[in-house]
């Protein structure tokens, strides 16, 4: 004789009310057959038998409270009684017809039994592995850094059939900030490569597909890795770009088509190549759709196709055009510089022209300036600072800065001056969130310094300026400028600025209107200081005067505030003592 006891129903479920009994003495039960319904405080569950045989005695009654382990019935000629507990967890799923039973598996294990619900999570990856490893996995361009959405593929290091392991660099991407090696986050054998050299690649774009290769042990971790892969790739990326920017030097110089090819190929053909238009397969769009795209000035290859096999319809082209226009109107999006501009005349009518693809820093600068100029109502406030005394100090403390590896420049001093000013005038260290109608005050002072490099304008950022002294700032600025010119800046070096300084004094000029570095709200321009006659102590004296130009976002900053802010800066230059008193 075998006893059937109420099996474990789940963590914290110790008992239930018997709401339905499906057996009586003499009934033949088989293993897995539902024998009763129990109402716990979580759900109504069907309890299947773990034994087989003919029911002899039923020891419970309808409506009775039954505890786990309590004997329910006994069977003759039975078997399997010992397996009661082992089979219990599968109880609710054994049968499916009554309603309570179907709800039970959903609620009972997950809510009532954390241990059980945790354990499937821990074990499910194992059964998934076989299917996972027989499937093709995809490598998409991971997040590369803040505000980096795309890059030009300057070097592809893989081809179909190549073995790739995790962390191995697979391509070099020229972003507007740096050239970086992108490592794979997956291992396996490359199946299809979906990008080609010269192409512009966006974050999230499919780069290649992988078949599980010989090194498939990494696949056992894949389910959990899927979530991590982005972070992982990003970290690997950051590590890669910090490794002394070696890749930057290997990369093609931007804005410069390979000169050797010009001689042998026709120029127009060649320029098409420079624009990355070569080696693209036939686009899945009907001829009239391609024509429409051409007429709208859209590169059909950029239009996402919603039809079968990625087929691009007329509607897809129009939708894309609309999205570009919307992006332009709101001052964002990659097309911002392209569509709003009125059509160009045919310059070829007046003589020979050359078209060169706008890449990297130049393209980013164009987009960014357009955004800033379109979004910000600019005003530029001019002032002058008498830096005669400061110049003496600068010469005096020059060697100290040199000792620390820096150069005591006016820009270095301006960093300190501005940091102090920003503490006193926090609205200059802020951003506007028009969408939420809020002002974002930043409680850190990171100042970007515009650096003129042969690749174009770069703005490395010096962090926590208010916490550093002038000698430290001079050293850091010298280091960053060198890094910028040596093409070794990482994207992280150019992120997070709250204010910008641009110094054109080394070249000349008496004043200019800098463009605010969006989403910042102000920028200070320095021009060339010169000796000027200044009326003081009842006569004209020859003084060294530094012209200052402050452009600001008039949405947030009023003219009077700007005048005060700039005056404070001018006075700080004039009386460095002010820094130690107020700054």
């Amino acid at each position: 004789m075998t006893e059937f006891k109420l099996p474990e129903l789940g963590e914290n479920v110790h008992q239930g009310d018997l709401v339905r009994l499906m057996i009586s003495p003499g009934t033949t039960v088989a293993e897995g057959q539902a024998v009763m319904e129990l109402e716990t405080d979580k759900a109504v569950v069907e309890v299947p038998s773990s034994v087989s045989g003919t029911v002899k005695d039923v020891l419970v009654k309808l409506g009775e409270k039954i505890k786990v382990g309590q004997v329910i019935f006994t069977v003759e000629n039975g078997a399997g009684g010992k397996r009661v507990e082992a089979r219990a967890p599968s109880a609710p799923t054994a049968k499916s017809e009554p309603k309570p039973a179907t709800t039970a598996p959903k609620t009972a294990p997950s809510e009532a039994n954390p241990v059980q619900s945790a354990s499937p999570k821990a074990t499910t990856p194992a059964p998934i592995v076989p299917s996972e490893s027989s499937e093709v996995s995809e490598f998409k361009l991971p997040e590369l850094g803040e505000n980096i959405h795309q890059g030009d593929l300057v070097r592809l290091m893989i081809s179909p059939g190549a073995q790739v392991s995790e962390g191995q660099p697979v391509m070099e991407l020229e972003t507007d900030k740096a050239v970086v090696e992108v490592p794979s986050s997956l291992s396996g054998i490359v199946k299809d490569v979906l990008v080609s050299q010269g192409e512009q690649i966006k974050v999230g774009q499919l780069i290649f597909t992988l078949e599980p290769g010989a090194t498939s042990q990494t696949h056992t971790q894949q389910p959990s890795r899927a979530e991590e892969s982005h972070d992982h790739a990003r970290m690997a990326f950051q590590a890669a770009i910090q490794s002394e920017g070696k890749t930057e030097e290997q990369a093609l110089p931007p804005d410069q088509p390979p000169a050797a090819a010009v001689a042998t190929f026709s120029m127009p053909l060649h320029l098409d190549r420079a624009a990355g238009a070569e080696n693209r397969g036939p686009v899945p769009a009907a001829p009239h759709v391609r024509r429409l795209a051409r007429e709208l000035g859209i590169d059909i290859h950029n239009v996402p196709g919603n039809g079968p096999g990625g087929r691009i319809s007329e509607a897809d082209v129009k939708m894309y055009a609309k999205s570009v226009i919307v992006a332009v109107a709101s001052g964002t999006g990659p097309g911002a510089t392209h569509l709003k501009q009125p059509a160009l005349p045919d310059f070829g009518k007046w003589g020979k022209i050359e078209r060169v693809s706008m890449r990297g820093v130049r393209r980013k600068t164009a987009e960014h300036m357009w955004e800033a100029w379109s979004a910000i109502p600019h005003v530029t406030q001019q002032d002058k600072a008498d830096i005669t005394e400061l110049e003496q100090l600068r010469t005096k403390f020059g060697p100290k800065a040199a000792e620390a590896g820096g150069k005591m420049t006016v820009t270095a001093i301006a960093l300190k001056v501005c940091a102090s000013a920003l503490k006193i005038f926090p609205q200059f260290n802020a951003s506007i969130d028009m969408e939420k109608e809020e002002i974002v005050y930043k409680q850190f002072i990171n100042i970007g310094v515009a650096v003129d490099t042969d690749r174009g304008l770069l703005v490395p950022v010096i962090r926590d300026v208010e916490k550093k002294n002038i000698v430290e700032l001079a050293a850091e600025l010298t280091g960053l400028s060198k890094k910028a010119r040596d093409k070794k800046l990482s994207p992280a070096d150019m992120e997070g600025g709250t204010f910008t300084i641009t110094n054109l004094g080394g070249i000349g000029g008496t004043g200019f209107s800098p463009i605010v570095n969006y989403p910042e709200v102000a920028i200070l321009g320095l021009s060339r200081s010169s000796m000027e006659p200044v009326w003081m102590n009842g006569k004209f004296e020859a003084r060294m005067v530094l012209p200052l130009s402050l452009s600001y976002d008039h949405r947030l900053i009023d003219g009077a505030d700007a005048a005060r802010f700039l005056r404070w800066i001018a006075e700080a230059f004039e009386q460095p003592f002010l820094l130690s008193v107020q700054g």
Partner: protein, 473 residues
């Protein structure tokens, strides 16, 4: 468009590219001058190429079929061939077509000048008129559509009536007893087929290891088998080292690993070793036009040369040297001059070899995919399973689709078999419209036709062809 803004353009060369450009330019409101040596527009294609060769090939096919009819219990006697009347049939076709084009040019108010053009500068053309005298005319834009001519190999250069090129072969002066065709490309095979049908013993010599280099081998094979029967000999991997005229004909010396007979005498020798672009236009150096490798004029995708005033289209800008490519380019150039945003960016250009059986392909070929290392899937439907092919007793054909393995999109179509040239158009449309294999399989094709084989090959891809059992993929 106001009169003041009306563009004045010249098209140099009246072939299918040139007259298509000229006519569309006129339709778009431009003032057009078309310059060509011939009496009417038409060019090589109409006068000395596609059209006359097709008239003759039609006759060859008829002769072939009349012999084939023996298999079905119908016997014709040997054909009696009146070469003069055949020639005048061919010339009648040519004259009708070219004369028609002349009238269309007039109707469109295209000024047609017979003569040779040379450049004085980027915008000025000097025309040495056939009728005598010279004109110097200035244009806003000039389209070069000067075409190509048969290539000449120095070692095969021999001034003799017995040496033919495609032009003189089409003149059909007589039917030689023996003819050697040098070059196993489409021109040599088409003309060889004509002469073989008319009674010549034709031998073909090809330098490479197969006929129609570049075409997929599975498409060439059925043709090869047929030509083996029709031709006297097909000499592959063989080069001609010398030709010498003798009293009885041309003595030809062969070299190559498979050569058995080192020398042989032929009544006539047809040299068809390719075509050369006509880019040696006098005065072109006074413009900024650049001529690149192999003599092709360099153009961008708008068919514009490096000289902003000058466009170029057709054979003179590159392969494939096909009339339908030229006319599409011509129309693109005309539209671009009119200020439309157009580009020559076809997804597929069909090619047809009008032999018997015909071979046709469009878009990507297997050969090209292999060269590019591109992964493809191929679905083939052999005509042995086609009811229609059986009824015409031509089951040697094959239809295949070249598909993208991921999207199952049709990237290329290849067909060999009777009438393949007419069937390929559907393939080109499928590629241009980005059709998937499923689209073709689900499109009802008329029964019983050979066009069904296109649908059936798509069904084969899915392993569900009604007429051909293949285990599922």
């Amino acid at each position: 468009m106001t009169e003041a803004l009306q563009q004045n353009i010249a098209v140099v060369g009246g072939g299918p590219g040139g007259y298509a450009a000229a006519f569309l330019a006129a339709d778009l409101g431009m003032k057009v001058t078309l310059i060509d040596r011939e009496q009417n527009p038409g060019g090589v294609c109409l006068y000395r190429g596609c059209i006359p060769s097709k008239a003759l090939l039609h006759v060859a096919k008829l002769i072939g079929e009349s012999r084939h009819a023996n298999n079905w219990g119908i016997e014709f006697g040997d054909p009696r061939i009146d070469v003069a009347r055949l020639r005048s049939f061919k010339e009648g076709v040519v004259n009708k077509l070219t004369g028609g084009l002349g009238q269309i040019a007039k109707a469109r108010k295209v000024q047609y000048i017979r003569g040779d053009a040379s450049f004085e500068n980027s915008n000025t053309v000097r025309i040495a008129k056939n009728a005598g005298g010279e004109d110097s005319l200035t244009f806003d834009r000039i389209i070069l559509a000067t075409g190509s001519r048969p290539a000449v190999v120095p070692s095969l250069k021999l001034d003799s009536q017995r040496m033919l090129d495609s032009t003189s072969a089409l003149d059909l002066k007589d039917v030689p007893d023996t003819l050697l065709v040098i070059g196993g490309g489409y021109i040599g095979l088409e003309l060889g087929t004509v002469y073989a049908a008319l009674g010549s013993k034709v031998s073909v010599v090809e330098m490479t290891g197969g006929l129609l280099p570049g075409a997929d081998r599975d498409l060439v094979l059925p043709l090869y088998k047929q030509l083996e029967k029709v031709f006297d000999a097909i000499l592959l991997n063989t080069t001609v080292t010398a030709v010498k005229e003798e009293a009885s004909g041309i003595r030809v010396c062969f070299d190559g690993k498979d050569v058995k007979e080192r020398e042989k005498v032929f009544d006539k020798v047809l040299v068809s070793v390719g075509r050369k672009p006509n880019s040696e236009i006098p005065g072109l150096d006074r413009t900024q036009v650049r001529v690149g490798e192999r003599g092709f004029i360099q153009v961008n995708k708008h068919l514009q040369t490096d000289d902003p005033a000058i466009y170029a289209i057709g054979d003179v800008v590159g392969e494939p040297m096909l009339a339908h490519k030229a006319s599409h380019e011509g129309r693109t150039a005309a539209e671009h001059i009119a200020g439309h945003k157009v580009a020559f960016e076809p997804n597929a250009i069909p090619a047809v070899v009008f032999t018997d059986p015909e071979i046709a392909w469009t878009g990507l070929t297997e050969t090209q995919a292999e060269k590019d290392g591109r992964e493809i899937k191929v679905a083939k439907f052999p005509w042995a399973a086609s009811g229609r092919a059986m009824t015409v007793d031509r089951t040697e054909g094959l239809t295949k689709l070249i598909l993208d393995p991921g999207t199952e999109r049709v990237l290329g179509v290849g067909i060999v078999g009777a009438g393949a040239g007419e069937l390929i158009a559907e393939g080109t449309l499928a590629i241009e419209m980005a059709a998937l294999a499923k689209d073709i399989a689900l499109t009802i094709h008329p029964h019983p036709t050979l066009s069904e084989t296109v649908m059936q090959s798509a069904e084969v891809f899915f392993g569900t062809s009604t007429d051909l059992y293949r285990p599922r993929r």
